[in-house]
Symmetry: C2
Subunit: 419 residues, 2 copies
């Protein structure tokens, strides 16, 4: 079968299965989730063996060590996949939630019902545990999923697929509910993102290159997580101990996550007091500082001069851009202009400034006196997340079960007609 025909058959199976999973009750979906978890644990050795094939190929192909690391599946990885599925089973089921019923003047009673999106296509790179996560989130939210993992994880993903299908069958659900593509042909991705009749939304997870390419090609709506260029702004009226703790945590808690601070903005009135103390702590941890001229005036030449590009960069590394600003206005403007609308925080004790920051910073998460590292599905109480959206429509920020649903209108009448 050629790729076009294969993808058409996948799309048709997904559309048909989406009706079955949309109707499934919560118990049936949870039974499937637990059955998949059981199968994964039982097949742990098989999964690790399949993964070994991928790892050997990756090393042979000279994949970067960091990527090889992300690809590796251990017994602990399998346990955490299974645990993730059990946590999804424990989350409340959003499907069918009804809200906001009120009578309209015509006598109809109008409300909303939360419903699955239908068929969700997920395109991701290297990490095989995404396969289990994504399958679980789509299943619980009543969607059919078409998963396209990286070619470097092909054997691992097929082994996980076998467990997923066993779990679906055990719960009496069709195999079309979760399909993991059996091809690594690039044309399959193009087909997937251009089948609006069979796919309702695409979630790409991966590097900026992948996401930009998908967004360009897609003829289906995309929920995308482009990048996280997050800021902390230390205001003139900040509590400097809180500022120190937050700015340090937001940068150094983990370097490779999208909610890590990449640029620090400091009001000029407190720059002299807070920057030397912070710089010491950053340098202790091996963080390179790149600063504006005023930052370098305070901290000296150990700070590299920042270029225009630094303000735009998601380092994902122990590097931090630092800028001294004259005002809250300048900070807000800088963030809206150079940030990625992901997560930004102000440190201040000033009521009015905190309100302005919350309202005017155009980001998916805006914070007062808290570390940007909190922008995360688990910290927000969503459970697992399918990604963190930097889009503005549908869902912003961490996307959990609710982000994989939408609301339809329900009208309950007694024979009403339009006059």
């Amino acid at each position: 079968m050629n790729v076009q025909d294969y993808m058409l058959s996948v799309g048709q199976a997904a559309r048909a299965a989406s009706r079955a999973i949309a109707r499934a009750d919560t118990n049936q979906k949870n039974r499937a989730l637990h059955a998949i978890a059981d199968a994964l644990l039982r097949d742990s050795a098989k999964l690790i063996a399949a993964n070994a094939l991928d790892l050997a190929a990756a090393r042979q192909n000279g994949l970067e060590p960091a990527l090889v690391d992300r690809l590796a599946v251990s017994a602990a990885t399998v346990e955490s996949m299974a645990e993730g599925l059990r946590q999804i089973a424990a989350l409340p089921d959003p499907v069918g939630e009804m809200d906001d019923f009120t009578y309209r003047p015509s006598g109809i009673q109008l409300g909303k019902m939360r419903v699955p999106l239908g068929v969700v296509g997920i395109i991701y790179e290297s990490r095989p545990n995404v396969t289990a996560d994504a399958a679980g989130l789509c299943l619980k939210s009543g969607n059919a999923a078409i998963l396209r993992g990286g070619s470097e994880a092909f054997h691992s993903n097929q082994a996980i697929a076998a467990c997923v299908h066993e779990g679906l069958a055990a719960a009496g659900l069709p195999a079309g509910v979760v399909q993991i593509l059996e091809t690594t042909d690039r044309a399959a991705v193009t087909a997937l993102v251009t089948m609006p009749d069979y796919v309702d939304v695409i979630v790409p997870r991966g590097g900026k290159g992948l996401i930009e390419r998908i967004s360009r090609e897609a003829r289906v709506p995309v929920i995308k997580h482009l990048h996280g260029n997050c800021h902390v702004y230390i205001d003139e009226r900040a509590d400097l101990d809180k500022a120190f703790a937050i700015a340090l945590n937001a940068k150094t808690h983990r370097y490779g996550t999208c909610n890590t601070m990449e640029s620090l903005l400091v009001h000029q009135a407190v720059a002299g007091a807070i920057l030397p103390r912070l710089a010491e702590a950053y340098w202790d941890k091996g963080v390179e500082l790149r600063g504006c001229e005023r930052t370098r005036d305070i901290l000296g030449n150990k700070v590299v001069a920042a270029t225009a590009e630094d303000w735009e960069t998601e380092y994902l590394a122990p590097i931090l851009a630092v800028k001294v600003v004259d005002s809250l206005d300048e900070a807000i403007e800088h963030i809206n202009e150079h940030g990625s609308h992901h997560t930004d925080a102000i440190v201040t004790e000033d009521y009015s400034r905190s309100r302005r920051f919350l309202r005017e910073v155009d980001s998916a998460s805006v914070m007062v006196n808290a570390s940007t590292r909190f922008a995360d599905g688990f910290e927000y109480g969503l459970g697992a997340e399918i990604g963190i959206s930097t889009d503005k429509i549908h869902a912003r920020g961490p996307v959990g079960l609710e982000g994989l649903t939408s609301q339809k209108w329900v009208v309950l009448g007694d024979g009403q007609i339009r006059q």
Copy 2:
């Protein structure tokens, strides 16, 4: 200036203005809406004179009489535009609404704030009153708008634009808040839908051809209203008097609207009882019936034999496709397969069947014992609507002020850091 440069300058002005309008308080936005309404009423004669130029050109170019009608602006049209703006002013302001604040285990307090989308591009055809409506809805919801009306309404739209800008200035808002394109070059549309840096969402309003073209070209999310192939299903357990009233109203209240029924499905157990009565009433009103074989067995050869195409067609005319079905399952499957996910209704007194229809029919509006004609922003209490979405993500069904906003996450902390 070439079209590319012109559109870039429009996009930049819109992005800058979007920050100002997002910050504007409700009073300021309402002042602008009333000032625009005042200017429209004062300039009524000017608008009608500008419209006369468009009408003369339309007639000269042999535009269809129905389209010439839609293009015409009378004193009553101007009054209804002004009244529409005053109604938008009277609606609650969704911007800044905060909800769902709860403490998380880490001690952060997490909630959501409703915020504008940013810059909304609206592309529409002939009817000049859309210009005032769309400007008003975007303004009230805190968005900057870029409006591209049909070339056949160019003079009318420019005259309305002058009033809009006068109203914005009177309220101290920048002109960039509502820009009405001063070119009819097709390349301007292509530029508008491919500027993700300056435009956050596109709303196309018009025929299927326009919307399909925009969706194909767009590199920006699109909220689209593709078409309305709406169904009424008369169940075996329907109250036949309600069924008669609803089926008649849903088809004949107005023929040209998207929430008009285009296909009638009737359970075989009641087809013999209800169809002859309904057919009489339809024929009295000049509605042509196209039926399946069983329908023709009951109603005779006056009913044209329906082809496969009839089940897919939005007639927007006094034509109705009629099908006798064996079961609720067949009805639901027919609607999900052939409908357009717009609005579908069941007539039944059966509790369990009503629940299944509501849950399983995958449409933006699902109704029990009410006419599909209720699917409308005014009937739903949203006030004016920017369109009726047949998409599944973001907003389904009538899109009012809330559909032009999204929610961001707000984190209120006291110095919390991730452990």
